[in-house]
């Protein structure tokens, strides 16, 4: 029997066509499909869980090697562990955003792909929302999966040490915090990507913003620690509160700030030891400061993308 493809004449398509509308899911699905086909995606996704692996090993030894009065597991502040793991995964999540998201519009502009998208029953909003979901979901899932697995492992192994007792809403908080980087990177990637005609240039611009803002805010963190202990480790100073807020003016700083608000923890305890507020931890920012900045940046980036994506270039 001949294959239908052996008939090379043109035949009309009379099959089903879904009603025009909601094409964003097709765009998002395809974007995610292309992302997970990249080897780099899996490398970065695995690396995103590195701090949880370290915690697993540390907690295993702390639980088995210590006991009785000096059982170190009793000192663990669980929300701090998630805040720290979340903070340390920032660079990985940023790299993932560069890999799967930063070229999303610029590469389409270079290849004139917008004419293909917008020549079909796919609106500009469908296109942008599809791209946004296609970046946001993978990043959020990469942030959520190791955290949730770690939470359930701890719940089964160390429940007696306060996994639920310290914060019974830890799991919903983990899930909520996992969407913070996805939402933020997806919005920024679209905005920055729409300003360029090449993914590499857009990537360079985003990396520049990320590292320069980080460098400045890390310097502020150092200044903050110094102002906390002006004359050595045992001295106590009065840190400038505006220095603390300035720390959050970075791509990852703002996300860490929001995570601290969600977990209601400053992440002062790194694995075990220092009490809350120690180790020069920057205090939890005010929600009235972080939320408007976070959503303002996201909205501005999406607005830029919306203005820049056009099927017809009009030269005035």
């Amino acid at each position: 029997m001949n294959s239908p493809i052996a008939d090379l004449s043109y035949r009309n398509y009379d099959g089903p066509l879904s009603a025009p509308g909601f094409r964003w899911w097709v765009v998002a699905k395809t974007m995610m499909g292309m992302a997970i086909k990249k080897r780099g995606f899996w490398v970065w996704a695995t690396m995103g869980a590195y701090w949880y692996f370290i915690l697993l090993v540390m907690f295993y030894f702390m639980d088995t090697l210590t006991g009785g009065q000096i059982n170190l597991m009793k000192q663990v502040i669980w929300p701090d562990q998630f805040v720290n793991a979340f903070s340390l995964a920032q660079i990985v999540l940023f790299s993932l955003a560069l890999l799967i998201g930063i070229g999303s519009i610029s590469n389409d502009r270079r290849a004139n792909a917008l004419l293909v998208y917008l020549g079909k029953p796919c609106s500009k909003a469908d296109y942008l929302f599809g791209k946004w979901v296609g970046i946001c979901l993978p990043i959020s899932i990469v942030a959520a999966v190791p955290a949730v697995l770690f939470y359930f492992y701890c719940l089964m192994s160390y429940r007696t040490y306060g996994v639920i007792g310290q914060d019974m809403f830890l799991l919903p908080k983990i899930l909520l915090a996992s969407f913070v980087p996805g939402f933020f990177h997806a919005s920024l990637c679209l905005g920055i990507s729409s300003l360029f005609d090449q993914g590499r240039l857009a990537g360079g611009a985003y990396a520049g913003i990320y590292f320069i803002s980080n460098l400045i805010t890390k310097a502020i963190q150092v200044a903050y620690i110094i102002s906390e202990h002006p004359h050595g480790r045992h001295s106590v100073g009065t840190p400038n509160p505006s220095l603390a807020n300035a720390y959050y003016f970075a791509v990852d700083g703002i996300q860490i700030g929001l995570a601290k608000i969600i977990f209601q923890s400053d992440g002062g305890q790194l694995i075990v030891g220092s009490p809350k507020g120690g180790n020069g931890a920057i205090p939890i920012p005010s929600i009235g400061f972080i939320l408007p900045v976070y959503f303002g940046i996201c909205a501005a980036a999406i607005w830029i993308a919306y203005v820049r994506v056009r099927p017809v270039e009009v030269i005035s």
């Binding site: 043109y10 035949r11 398509y13 099959g15 509308g21 792909a113 004419l115 293909v116 079909k120 029953p121």
Partner: protein, 303 residues
């Protein structure tokens, strides 16, 4: 029946009027859209697709009002002038994706993508990344993504752009085939008059945003007064003198070919020519009703 109707449509880019009080009925079949650069051809296509919003007037495509652009884009296939593809995709993935965007179920889109790629002559290259395609292959894949969802109207913007002569002939054959007897109407926008002549039955001539001429190509090529062209075996001044005496003035002569004014029907003219040639013992190698080239018709329309 008209596949697209526009009534007093005006489209502006800022202060520049690209389509000015434009009224047209585009009929079924293969229609060519002619006009010099900046005449408004691409603007017309982009308005039909809903990329541009008219400032005045109304219109419909396949019975759907221009404001319902989603429905129009589902019924229409668009092959842009510029090279376009989705980066990082193979040919078959790209065409299947275009089908899905048009509303086809995933499996149907993939199956249909294979079919149209075979039809467009890209069967062998379908698994290659589109970025590795040659110019000719990219033109073909643009056609494939435009027809994958079985549109009722195909808008082709400069379909032979950048193609070598062989590629051009093949592309024109593809366009001609899909537009004849397949239930698919085609609007071809091109600067290349031979391309329009080869593929289209009808043509629209646009100049400065206004419709200057519309009609069947054979009618556009007709010359007023129905002159005839006679090709003799060799030039003959006697024939020239005698045919004028027979009531058929010579309009012009090129070697042994004479364009003559015909007083009556072509049959009557043929009788007079043959009678004159017989008297002079001349051989008549050709006789046909004179027509101008499409280029001449186009130049007359725009001037």
């Amino acid at each position: 029946m008209a596949v697209a109707s526009l009534h007093q449509l005006t489209v502006k880019y800022g202060d520049f009027v690209a389509l000015d009080d434009f009224t047209v009925d585009i009929s079924e079949g293969c229609v060519g859209l002619l006009g010099p650069n900046g005449a408004g051809k691409t603007t017309l296509i982009k308005t039909l697709l809903g990329f541009l919003t008219p400032t005045a007037g109304s219109g419909s495509v396949l019975g759907t009002d221009l404001s319902d652009w989603r429905r129009i884009r589902q019924l229409v296939g668009y092959m842009p002038e510029q090279d376009c593809h989705i980066p990082g995709m193979s040919g078959v993935a790209f065409v299947a994706y275009a089908g899905e965007l048009a509303g086809m179920p995933k499996e149907q889109a993939l199956r249909r993508a294979h079919e149209v790629l075979e039809y467009c002559g890209l069967g062998e290259a379908r698994y290659r990344n589109v970025e590795t395609y040659s110019t000719g292959m990219r033109q073909r894949i643009k056609l494939a993504q435009a027809i994958v969802h079985g549109p009722k109207l195909l808008l082709l913007d400069e379909p032979t752009n950048g193609l070598d002569p062989a590629g051009r002939v093949e592309m024109l054959e593809l366009v001609r085939e899909v537009s004849h007897g397949k239930g698919l109407s085609v609007l071809v926008c091109s600067h290349l008059l031979p391309d329009i002549e080869k593929t289209c039955d009808e043509a629209l001539v646009i100049l400065r945003g206004k419709l200057r001429e519309q009609g069947l190509i054979k009618n556009l090529k007709k010359v007023d007064g129905h002159p005839v062209e006679v090709e003799l075996g060799e030039p003959s001044p006697e024939f020239e003198t005698m045919i004028v005496q027979a009531g058929m003035p010579v309009i012009h002569r090129k070697l042994a070919t004479y364009r003559l004014e015909s007083p009556g029907s072509p049959q009557e003219a043929l009788h007079r020519v043959l009678a004159t040639a017989a008297k002079l013992d001349l051989s008549v190698r050709g006789f046909h009703v004179a027509e101008r080239s499409l280029e001449e018709a186009f130049l007359e329309a725009i001037n």
